[in-house]
Amino acid sequence: MKDRIFRATLFLAAGLIVLLTAGIVYGLVSQSMDALTHFGPLHFITSPAWDSRSDDYGALSFIAGTLLTAVLALAFCIPFSFSASLFNGEYFRGRKIATVVGSIVDLLAGVPSIVFGLWGFYTLRPLLAGAGGQGFGILLASIVLAIMIIPYASSLSAEFIAMTPSELKEGAYSLGATRMEVVRYVSLPVAGSGILASYMLAFGRALGETMAVTMLIGNTNNLPHGLTDTGNTMASIIANQFGEAGGLKLSSLMAIGLLLFLLTATINFLSKYILKCVTLSKS
C-alpha cells in the first residue's frame, strides 16, 4: 500500500514536468498569437522594423544580432576551449594540473552573467573604444560571450578526448607518429562527434545569454552591418523593453521569446541527439 502511494507520487512528479513544459509552450504560443497573426509569421521573422510609434514590429534585426554574436562567440571560443580540452583530456590527462585547470575553467561557468557584463563594460569596452565610437557593439558582446561559453565547450569535449582508447594511441605512437599526429589522426576522429555536440551546447548557451549581452551590445534596434555596429539580440531586446511594453509590442516580445525558445531547443536537441549516438556506440 505504502509502495503504491510512493510510486504514485513519483508518477505525479514526472507528470508535473510534462505539465510544466506544456504550460511553458502554451503560454508562449498563446501570448505571441496576437503579433504573429497581426503581422503574419513569415513577415514577422523577415521584417527588420521595430517602431513603437507606428506599432510595426519585426524580429529580423534581433535574429540577425543573435546569430551573429553567437557565431562570432563560437569562433572566438574555439581555439581556447579546444586547447583547454586537449590540455586536460590529452596532454595532462589525469594529472593534478589538469584538475586544477579544469576546476578554474569550470569556475568561469559560475560567474554570473551580470558580472561578465560589468567586466566587459568597464575593462574591455575602453580597449575597443579606441577604434572610434564607444566600443559597444556586436564585437564586444561576442568577445565576452566567447569567454562565457568556454567552460561549456571545453569540459565536455575534454571528456570525449580523454575517452579515446589508449590502445589506439599507443598503436599510433609505436608506428612513429608524433603526439600532434596522434591527436589529429586518432583522438580527433574518435572524439569528433562528441566535440561537435559540446560545441553545439555551447552555441545554444550563447544564443540565450541575456544580461552580459544587454549591457554590451549597444541596444539599437537595427540590422547590424558590421562587427563594430551596435544592435540587439533576441534576449537583450526582451530584457530591455519588456518592462514598459504593452499591447502589440508585448505580444511581439513574446513572439521573439517563442522564436528564441524554438531556436535554442532545436540546437540543444541536435546536440543531445549526437551525444546519444556517440554514447550508444561507445558502450
Binding site: K2, G27, P79, F80, S174, G176, R179, V186, G192, F269
Partner: protein, 355 residues
C-alpha cells in the same frame, strides 16, 4: 583518406634517418592502419579492425617507437610548437577569471565593509551627496541579501524535492515512454534561456497575481534549477550498483523504504553536489528576476510583494552613475559566494568519492 596522403607527402619529403629502421613506404601502410578511423566514420569506429586490410599489417616491421625522434625532424618541431600553442591558449583561458576577480577586488574593497551587510541600498540622492563630499558611499545591499535569501529559499524548497522525485522516477523507469519524454523535457527545460523563463513566469504568475512578487522570482529560479537537480539525481542513482537495491529488497524492505533509506542516502554526495551547483548557477541570475521580482528599496519578507536581490541591485547600481561605486563591492560579494559554493561542491564530490 586525403589526410593520410598529406602525411605521406610530408614524410617522403623529409630526410629519413636510416638508423631508425623504417622507411617511408612502411609508414604509408602503418598510417593507413591508424587512420582506419577516417574522418567521417568516427562514430562507428570498429575495434575489430575489420576495415583494416590484414595483408598490410603483415608488412609492418617492428621498429622503435618514433615518438621522440632524435633527428632534426620538422615533424617533431611542429609537434613541440603545437604543444606550446595548446599550453599557451589554455593559460589564456584561465586569465579572465582572475582579471575579473582582480578588478572587482581592486575597485570594490573600499566599499566592502560592514555597512554592505547591515544597511539597505542608498537612494541616488544620498549617494550623490556622499560623492560630492568625497566620502565612501553610505548604505549597503542588505535588502538585496535578504531578497536573494528569500527568493532562493523558496525556489530550493520547490525545486529540490520535486527534482529528486522526478530523478528517482527517471532512474527507476528509465525506458518507459513517459520517462523518455520526461528526460527529453528536462533537457529542453535546461536549454531555455533565462529571460524566456522570466517572461513565462510573468505570464503565469505575475499577471494572475496582479503584480511583481518574490514568489514569481522563486518560481522562475525553481524552473531553472529543476532540470539540473533532476539530471544529477538520475545520474547519481544510476551509478549505484544494481545489487544494492536487490540486497535491500531481499531483506524484505518495501520499494519505498529501500529507495529512501538505502539508495537515496548512498547517492547523497552526487545529489548534494548537483544541488549546490544548481543553487550557485541561479544565484547570480538577473534577467528572469527583472521581469518577475522587479526589485524593492526596502527589506521585504512578504512573498507576494516585489523584492530585490543582490543581482537586481547590481543592475540598479550599474544603471545609476551615482551608485556606481557600490557595483563593485556587491559584485565582489556575489562572485565570492558563488565561487565558494562551487569550490566546496567540487571538494565534497572528490572527498566523498574517495571514501
Amino acid at each position: 583518406m586525403r589526410h593520410t596522403l598529406e602525411v605521406l607527402n610530408q614524410d617522403t619529403s623529409q630526410p629519413c634517418d636510416r638508423s631508425q629502421r623504417y622507411n617511408p613506404t612502411d609508414r604509408k601502410v602503418t598510417t593507413q592502419q591508424i587512420v582506419m578511423l577516417r574522418p567521417g566514420r568516427s562514430q562507428r569506429y570498429d575495434p575489430t579492425g575489420r576495415n583494416a586490410t590484414t595483408q598490410q599489417v603483415v608488412t609492418l616491421r617492428p621498429g622503435k617507437p618514433q615518438r621522440y625522434d632524435s633527428s632534426r625532424n620538422s615533424r617533431r618541431i611542429k609537434d613541440r610548437l603545437f604543444f606550446y600553442l595548446v599550453c599557451c591558449c589554455t593559460f589564456l583561458t584561465l586569465i579572465p577569471l582572475f582579471l575579473i576577480l582582480w578588478e572587482l577586488i581592486q575597485k570594490g574593497y573600499r566599499q566592502f565593509n560592514l555597512g554592505l551587510f547591515t544597511q539597505v541600498a542608498p537612494t541616488s540622492m544620498e549617494a550623490m551627496l556622499a560623492r560630492i563630499s568625497g566620502d565612501a558611499l553610505p548604505g549597503g545591499i542588505l535588502n538585496g541579501i535578504t531578497g536573494t535569501l528569500l527568493i532562493l529559499f523558496v525556489a530550493i524548497l520547490a525545486a529540490i524535492p520535486l527534482g529528486i522525485w522526478v530523478g528517482i522516477y527517471l532512474a527507476e523507469k528509465g525506458e518507459r515512454p513517459l520517462a523518455r519524454l520526461v528526460r527529453n523535457l528536462a533537457d529542453l527545460l535546461q536549454g531555455i534561456p533565462s529571460i524566456v523563463t522570466g517572461i513565462i513566469v510573468y505570464i503565469w504568475v505575475v499577471r494572475p497575481m496582479g503584480g511583481y512578487s518574490a514568489l514569481a522570482g522563486s518560481v522562475a529560479l525553481a524552473v531553472m534549477m529543476l532540470p539540473m537537480v533532476i539530471r544529477s539525481t538520475e545520474e547519481s542513482l544510476k551509478m549505484l550498483p544494481a545489487s544494492l537495491k536487490e540486497a535491500g529488497l531481499s531483506l524484505g524492505g518495501s520499494y519505498a523504504s529501500v529507495m529512501l533509506r538505502v539508495l537515496l542516502p548512498s547517492a547523497f554526495s552526487g545529489l548534494f553536489t548537483g544541488s549546490l551547483i544548481a543553487i550557485s548557477r541561479v544565484m547570480g541570475e538577473t534577467a528572469p528576476l527583472l521581469v518577475t521580482a522587479l526589485g524593492a528599496a526596502a527589506i521585504n519578507w512578504d512573498l507576494s510583494r516585489p523584492t530585490s536581490s543582490v543581482s537586481l541591485l547590481i543592475w540598479e547600481f550599474y544603471n545609476d552613475p551615482n551608485l556606481a561605486p557600490l557595483v563593485w563591492s556587491s559584485s565582489l560579494l556575489l562572485l565570492l559566494i558563488i565561487l565558494c559554493i562551487n569550490l566546496s561542491a567540487k571538494s565534497i564530490a572528490t572527498k566523498w568519492k574517495t571514501q
